[in-house]
């Protein structure tokens, strides 16, 4: 029943370093192990490359680099494929967690002290038991001009 409740939203959680993020599940198309990518010269550094997913071309975005998070992550990464404006993007993250039902009234405004690069893409935060999950706005995340270095 909880699934159909209007005041609950489903988020896919994923990890980058010690942080946990959430993204609305209905925008997630696929979850893949990292694929072989074709490098795109001159593209912004967070554009890791492009790849073929069932005949469609997917632009792969390195989530760490997109958020200017400098620490180097593990090599065993996962890709979350999202659809944005009729295009496919894959978000390369450290690991993918579970799908969570969050009640909307518990979602809080991101703290004002949050790094501006993070604030830009965050719609809210949610207090999990041990961590604070940052909820992302995929459109803000993918509204990027990757052509400029």
């Amino acid at each position: 029943m909880a699934l159909l409740d209007t005041d609950e939203q489903q988020f896919l959680s994923f990890y980058m370093g010690d942080h946990v993020f959430g993204i609305p599940i209905f925008q997630v198309q696929d979850i893949l192990h990292t694929q072989q990518l074709t490098h795109v010269p001159l593209a912004a550094d967070f554009i890791e490359g492009i790849m073929n997913l069932r005949g469609r071309i997917v632009t792969a975005i390195n989530f760490r680099k997109r958020l200017h998070y400098s620490e180097v992550g593990g090599s065993n990464t996962m890709s979350i494929v999202l659809e944005h404006k009729d295009e496919l993007f894959s978000l390369i993250v450290d690991d993918v967690g579970e799908v969570l039902n969050l009640s909307t009234d518990k979602i809080e405004v991101p703290p004002y002290t949050l790094n501006p690069a993070w604030r830009e893409v965050a719609t809210g935060v949610f207090q999990l038991q041990d961590k604070i999950m940052i909820l992302l706005n995929p459109h803000a995340l993918l509204q990027i001009n990757g052509g400029q270095k």
């Binding site: 010269p41 001159l42 052509g147």
Partner: protein, 723 residues
């Protein structure tokens, strides 16, 4: 049957089917203004289109029906069952006529005056405040109802649209036809374009998967999956063809508005113009069709406005009063050719010259030496118009340059021939489909990129012990190519890829042409040609002007497609484009005559000879022991045929180069001692075509005899396709 009529019938059938339900609903709910509007719109469309297509009977019934419906819509007449029956009757009549058109190609004969008079009675009755019921339909029966239809008249000049006059036969046969299920409607199906695009993507993916499977299967020796795989292979190919076909549309669709436009221009300017359209059924990719629609319309309008003269003027020139514009589309070697010609006054040379001088595009001295053909090409310059006055139709100077750039954008080209007082012909060459482009795959720094083949003019190997070397002028790489200096762009540097200078490394120069400007792209490797399906580059990468798109290769990998004009810009050579165009024009003045590319070689007597390169189909190397004698002639097996070899001298060499000529479907080979180079010669080759020597010319300071390949090919063998 005419495609336009066909489409009209399909559409009309669909909307009529909706109408039946709408009318019944209206009867129950007479106040529903949305329903009335819907019915009104359908009938209005039928009226308009039938007028345009020259279907007077259909037009007049729809016209009168529309009048009555208009009253309903404006609430001047109350909807009653009797009126609904009358409207239904009119719609049934429309259906009958449509079925008649479907079966005979023209309007069936029949008398609608009774129905029309009923409709008029209702219409006039409402206007005069007289209520009239359907029970007294004959009240106005005696009134003479002239079938006035303004649209029928308007359509008259467009008769050459191949719409036949109503077929006058078999009196009542058509009226007697029961409103059977329309046949055309059941044969076509409207499908959302998006569904088709998805299908196309899936099929491309299926093709890729099949290719991978076939690749894997090739390494297996005997395998039970081979037979089913072979079948899968055929089915997938068939499926691919089928899906590709769904993207194709007849070019006539892009022409449907032209008869009206020509008619309007003719009426406005007091001209008489016949528009003839041929090859409407020639099919083109939907996307391309959209893109050539406007250029074509523009050009036809130009022909009507500038090309065809006024009737009096034409008579004075000894031509018929009525001018003619011909549109013709046909296939030619993987391309579609669209020809637009008129028999009008041609391009006015003097006016163009004045305009050129006025705009300072060339000096008077330069013009004096230019051939007429070259002067005419100036109409493709931006903002060039020779119209005396700006009419509502044309003359604003936004014209042929836009047309040309639009056509070039889809990988096409445009040519023009014009003779003063005889007329002008434009030839537009467009690719069959945008989706598939043949591309050269090149590699730098272990990354692969595609270059559209249409921009590649040749490949040169440099470095190592090649005769060509890259030279540096203050770090700017250049290549000497047949006496010309070719600016080079290192793809490595341009793409900011790591690179190490190694002078002895063998590299390749992809000689690339953007409009008139040639430059070389330095790459590490050249792979194969591949037919690729172009996919637009991601919105986020649009800022990278160097790439025009990306594609998925046969092995499933994604690669970027390079955009030569973008490369020019990125390399800062944009300015050179203009200069090159000017330089080329100047060069043409000095070296008047056609540009001929010649293949230089030493023949078997070690004499320097040349052959026109457009006759050379391939260069091969042959082992002398493979040469056989047949019918007293020396021949070699080539592509499963015996091909005669000429100039064959027995000596001790084991392998010798062969120049293979092709003329139409005849092949012949000439043996040479050594292939030397390719050279450009400006001028016409004047010799006769029957002699063995076409001409003797000076190339690179040496006298060379240009041989006549026709001499060999006429004795050559005919290669048939399926032998």
């Amino acid at each position: 049957m005419d495609d336009i009529i066909n489409e009209f019938l399909t559409e009309t059938n669909e909307s009529l089917a909706e109408l039946d339900n709408a009318l019944v609903a209206l009867e129950q709910n007479p106040e529903d203004s949305a329903l009335i509007s819907q019915i009104f719109r359908v009938i209005h469309t039928i009226k308009g289109t039938s007028g345009f297509l020259g279907l007077p009977r259909l037009g007049s019934v729809a016209h009168k029906g529309e009048d009555v419906l208009g009253l309903f819509r404006d609430k001047k007449l109350k909807v009653t069952p009797a009126y609904i029956s009358l409207i239904l009757e009119a719609i049934d009549r429309i259906k009958q006529i449509i079925i008649g058109i479907e079966t005979t190609g023209g309007e069936p004969a029949g008398d609608d005056s009774q129905l029309i008079s009923q409709l008029e009675a209702v219409y006039n009755g409402a206007g005069g405040g007289v209520e009239l019921s359907n029970d007294s339909p004959n009240i106005m029966d005696d009134a003479v109802m002239p079938m006035v239809d303004p649209f029928a008249e308007e359509a008259a000049p467009a008769q050459s649209l191949a719409v036949q006059e109503p077929v006058q036969d078999k009196g009542t046969a058509a009226t007697a036809t029961a409103p059977a299920e329309s046949q055309i409607a059941s044969q076509t199906l409207r499908v959302n374009v998006e569904v088709l695009e998805n299908l196309m993507t899936m099929v491309s993916e299926l093709v890729l998967t099949r290719n991978q499977l076939l690749q894997t299967a090739r390494n297996l020796k005997e395998n039970e999956i081979l037979a089913p795989l072979q079948r899968l292979n055929h089915v997938v190919s068939g499926l691919q063809d089928g899906v590709m076909k769904t993207r194709m549309q007849p070019i006539g669709n892009a022409w449907s508005k032209l008869p009206r436009i020509v008619r309007d221009v003719a009426a406005e300017l007091g001209k008489k113009i016949d528009l003839e359209m041929r090859g409407q059924e020639t099919e083109l990719d939907r996307q391309i069709l959209e893109m050539i629609k406007d250029p074509l319309t523009h050009m036809v309008r130009n022909s009507a406005d500038h090309g065809v003269e006024l009737p009096a003027e034409r008579v004075a020139k000894g031509k018929s009063e009525t001018g003619k514009i011909l549109l013709n589309a046909y296939h030619q070697g993987g391309h579609i050719i669209v020809e637009i010609s008129d028999d009008g006054k041609g391009l006015p040379l003097e006016k163009i010259k004045n305009k050129i001088l006025e705009r300072g595009l060339a000096t008077e001295e330069q013009l004096r030496h230019m051939p007429a053909q070259q002067i005419q090409q100036f109409i493709f310059h931006a903002g060039f118009s020779t119209a005396d006055k700006i009419t509502s139709v044309s003359g604003r100077g936004v014209g042929m340059d836009v047309v040309r750039s639009n056509i070039e954008k889809i990988g096409g080209s445009i040519e023009m021939k014009s003779v003063e007082d005889k007329g002008t012909t434009f030839l537009i060459k467009i690719p069959l489909t945008l989706a598939i482009v043949s591309s050269l795959i090149v590699g730098v720094n272990n990354e692969r990129f595609a270059v559209p083949q249409i921009t590649v003019s040749e490949l040169v190997c440099v470095g190592g012990d090649s005769t060509h070397q890259v030279e540096l002028i203050n770090n700017a790489p250049v290549l000497r190519l047949r006496g010309n200096l070719l600016p080079l762009v290192s793809l490595n540097q341009l793409l900011n890829l790591p690179h190490h200078e190694d002078k002895n490394k063998v590299q390749y120069i992809v000689v690339t042409r953007v409009a008139a400007f040639l430059f070389g792209l330095i790459v590490d490797q050249v792979f194969d040609m591949e037919e690729i399906v172009v996919k637009p580059v991601s919105e986020n990468l649009k800022g990278l002007q160097i790439f025009s798109g990306n594609t998925i290769l046969g092995d499933g990998r994604v690669i970027m497609i390079l955009d030569p004009p973008g490369i020019l810009k990125a390399a800062g050579m944009e300015q050179n484009l203009e200069n090159a165009q000017q330089a080329q024009e100047e060069k043409l003045q000095i070296q008047s005559g056609a540009e001929n590319l010649l293949l230089l070689f030493n023949d078997s007597h070690d004499q320097l000879k040349a052959a026109p390169i457009d006759m050379v189909s391939r260069l091969e190397e042959v082992e002398l022991k493979n040469i056989e004698i047949s019918d007293g002639r020396k021949v070699i097996q080539y592509l499963g045929h015996l091909m005669p070899i000429f100039g064959c001298e027995n000596d001790n060499q084991e392998r010798r180069p062969l120049i293979i000529f092709r003329d139409g479907n005849r092949n012949a080979a000439l043996m040479a001692n050594k292939i030397l180079d390719i050279a450009t010669y400006y001028g016409d080759l004047n010799g006769g075509t029957d002699g063995s020597i076409l001409d003797s010319v000076i190339v690179n300071g040496k006298a060379v005899d240009v041989i006549n390949p026709a001499l060999f090919t006429t004795q050559g063998v005919v290669l048939t396709e399926n032998a």
